[in-house]
Symmetry: C2
Subunit: 222 residues, 2 copies
């Protein structure tokens, strides 16, 4: 088994696709077979994608005869199956492993939903300014918590890059795109993003349409 | 290290607590030290809970000097740290492992949110009947999908109990409590629940106040 047996369907700008791609790069599979689908043409609903993912969503991923479509599951799977390839995303030490798992799930359960909530609210034409402001405040509160987490470490769960960083970087990439201001407000997160935004796995996973289109600046006033 | 070094703070009826407790039982730690907190007395905001979980939420869990509070992280941690204790929640075979991880995250990402959404909507006095009906339909749609998943297997990811079942059982326990009708509508899920509801880990984790108070029957009409 190797990267030539893999196949990833992905769409530009999808957070689950970004985090999947960062993981594939970190695990040393640069150049894995992939197909970029266009959401605008509903290519995620084509038969070839549906054959992998009956939900008609991306990422849709296979590694030989293993089919996995949930991005968080793909990250975990790649680490379990290829522990010695590329970056070690989950340390062996018990205490450190517990810490990485805690942060990995905490980003999923507590931080990412605040980003999604705000995004959905600002996109909703019927949402009141008050509702938008409330969602913005909730995101700021969570960002403040994660900024404090970064006070003592280079990475989100200590001194080594781990699976916890993959989703966290994905969020920072999206916040940066939407011009959510980190500098001056969240100094540790800002420094983290400056350190990691040019990491090869992140550069390779940057959504192509972010490079060629203007930001909608949805979070600029939050 | 052993169960005597563990401590779990939990509250009755909390889904994250139920799934944490099922995992602890499955991994063979019956009788682990635990403290039941009362939400009504705001005991999850006491100093002893906050010392473990600064968010003031349960579960709050420690295993020696490892502190983990995200329920999904606890499940994963227990399996990683104690692979040979109790039930093996994550098979070694690559294909099967990928399948278990896919289902584990799919329950989290796709099924559980529909339950929460409906619960929040029926609890919201300002929600319209139309909004409630819509959330009910979304839950039925997802339940239909998971019912089909169970067509060929004894458990959610094949023939062995796995981490994917823990969260799934937790959801079925809640649906049962809220009188969401499975029988006749979701035959595979109904059979699964009948088979598993008396499993020792599930019985040991059943919320005490569910035994002594009437169901609110929130989902009875969905």
């Amino acid at each position: 088994m190797g990267k030539e047996d893999m196949l990833l369907y992905w769409g530009s700008g999808s957070p689950p696709c970004i985090r999947t791609m960062i993981a594939l790069e970190e695990k040393g599979f640069s150049g894995y077979p992939q197909k970029l689908i266009e959401f605008g043409k509903k290519e995620h609903k084509t038969e070839e994608v549906l054959a992998l993912n009956p939900r008609g969503q991306v990422p849709a991923f296979k590694d030989g005869d293993v089919i996995i479509n949930e991005s968080y599951a793909i990250i975990h799977y790649l680490q379990h199956r290829y522990p010695d390839s590329g970056t070690n995303l989950l340390p062996g030490d018990c205490k450190q492993q517990g810490f990485v798992l805690q942060r990995y799930y905490e980003v999923q359960a507590a931080f990412y939903p605040k980003v999604l909530d705000l995004f959905k609210t600002v996109m909703n034409k019927e949402a009141t300014d008050e509702a938008k402001a409330k969602k913005g405040e909730e995101l700021v509160e969570e960002a403040t918590r994660f900024d404090a987490y970064l006070k003592d470490g280079t990475f989100l769960a200590g001194d080594q890059f781990s699976m916890a960083d993959i989703d966290f970087i994905t969020i920072l990439l999206l916040l940066d795109r939407q011009e959510f201001k980190l500098e001056g407000r969240f100094p540790n997160m800002f420094a983290y993003w400056q350190r990691l935004k040019d990491r090869p796995s992140v550069v390779a996973s940057y959504p192509p349409h972010f490079k060629t289109s203007e930001s909608t600046r949805y979070f600029a006033s939050c």
